[in-house]
């Protein structure tokens, strides 16, 4: 077993990226994710890597575009308003089919909002990042260990599908410390060569990386290709976890920080005899649609718990497809307490009886 170290979520992301062979970071500061660029600025030079604080988020995301095009493993990170600024670049990167990893440590919006933890960027991350028909693959870790494991995995997934992958956390996960174990570091020189990369055409045909397809047929073919890719992603990449679902009548559906607080509420509800379990999506795109639907025969009521006014609930409702009621609990700007979720579960338990 590897040694356990006590680490802040944000710093753990940085270390996991370096161990995944990432040697390039482009970003612009914003709270509550600043420990990531701080860590990368300190550690990347030790690995012959490049840390660059760009003049803006837009510039940073286009630097990511360039580095990804050259075949390198590259990371950028930000918090909500900064991600909005990076969105344009991400559409181009997805259109050009380039791999990269983007971390969003969510804070409250809209606009400048506040710096407290939030999950208000679910729609943005899973459905509406920017213009055009594209998706990010989105991981939603709920512990510092998962931040590490999923950041590491994100680089592989990005390379496999040639698509940007987002690690979606929140201010609480980024700021908290927990014990973590790291994987053995990977040497970027050992990674398979990317034959499509624009890394010098001497002795081979020219590679072209572009998202421009002016001819209508060409444009449709490009989108069909992406569509097929997302079908494969949906078929192969769904991840979720269930907790105390064996005999559950009520299912909480929650991800990230909300899932952790929900587990505490579920344990308290179970002590009162309420049969409740948790479905925790680990990938938000692709959403564990079939996995949620498969519980409909058993579950009488669903409760979606989010630090938002209700975004993932739409995917839960699509999965449940009208077969069962789906209720919502959420707070904004304030991280809710387990007791608040418990209160709802007690009420729902009473209604079922």
């Amino acid at each position: 077993m590897a040694e356990r170290v006590l680490m802040k979520g944000n710093e753990a992301i940085g270390e996991a990226a370096i161990r995944a062979g990432c040697r390039y970071f482009f970003g612009y500061p914003i709270t509550p994710q600043n420990d990531i660029p701080a860590y990368m600025s300190r550690e990347l030079p030790k690995h012959d890597g490049v840390f660059l604080q760009a003049e803006s988020e837009v510039a940073a995301s286009n630097m990511v575009y360039g580095a990804a095009g050259s075949g390198a493993r590259v990371l950028t990170s930000s918090s909500s308003p900064g991600i909005s600024l990076k969105a344009e670049g991400l559409s181009y990167i997805a259109g050009a089919e380039l791999p990269c990893v983007v971390v969003n440590i969510m804070r409250c919006g809209p606009g400048l909002g506040g710096i407290q933890p939030s999950q208000g960027d679910y729609f943005q991350a899973t459905k509406g990042m920017a213009h055009g028909d594209f998706h990010l693959i989105v991981y939603a870790p709920s512990t510092v260990q998962e931040l590490v494991d999923l950041t590491y995995k994100a680089f592989d997934t990005a390379d496999r599908y040639r698509n940007p992958v987002m690690v979606l956390g929140d201010g609480m996960l980024g700021q908290m410390m927990e014990p973590v174990e790291f994987m053995e570091p990977l040497d970027p020189a050992d990674l398979p060569k990317k034959e499509w990369a624009t890394d010098g055409a001497k002795g081979r045909d020219t590679n072209v990386i572009n998202s421009l397809a002016l001819a209508p047929e060409e444009l449709e073919a490009m989108n069909k290709k992406l569509e097929n890719k997302y079908k494969k992603v949906k078929a192969n990449e769904v991840m979720h976890e269930e907790y105390r679902m064996e005999d559950a009548e009520i299912a909480v559906v929650a991800y990230g920080t909300s899932a952790r607080i929900s587990i505490k509420a579920i344990d308290m509800a179970r002590e009162r005899g309420i049969k409740v379990g948790l479905i925790r999506p680990i990938t938000l795109y692709p959403f564990p649609e079939k996995e949620v639907a498969a519980t409909c025969d058993q579950i009488k009521k669903y409760l979606t718990v989010e630090m938002s006014t209700g975004q993932m609930i739409e995917d839960v409702r699509l999965a449940v497809n009208g077969r069962r009621p789906v209720e919502f609990f959420g707070r904004l700007g304030v991280v809710f307490e387990a007791e608040e979720v418990l209160e709802r579960l007690i009420a729902m338990g009473g209604e079922i009886q």
Partner: protein
Amino acid sequence: MHEEIIMAGFGGQGIMSIGQLLAYSGMIKGLDVSWMPSYGPEMRGGTANCTVIVSDSRIASPLTSKPDSVIVMNLPSQDKFSPKVKEGGLVVTNSSLIDKEVEREDLEVIKVPANEIANELGNTRVANMIMLGAYLARKEIIDLDTVKESLTSVLPERHHDLIPLNEKALDRGFELVNEEVTV
């Protein structure tokens, strides 16, 4: 064993450090731990706090609304957090800076003149360690030796010359409570 602690004080009193020290010590003892700082816009001299959870089973939420114990180093922190403590819980309070009583009959209150003892030791900045030592004497969730060993890993290297002083401060807090118990 499952212990939820909120530590709070002025920014600069070393609240975050003793929280990290306790969490680290729990980790090397093989326990599950979490350390969650408060963060947000704070003015200079405002309050800082962190929540530490140490448990022999998996920690679900890293937050608590009803801590088992609180360590408070200034009055605003005592006013804010002592009402939240679980019934019958523990308050370790810095009596050098707080002369107000905790307004609850059900709590155990340990008064530690942390700044005065720290001054006797020659450095006010170790008042935090005296508070932690006193807490550990009452709640033996982790032995004092493990906490002392953890100083090397938790304190930044530039402060390693202060490790003997920090150890002494932990001892003084620990002894203070033990002496009171034996009297």
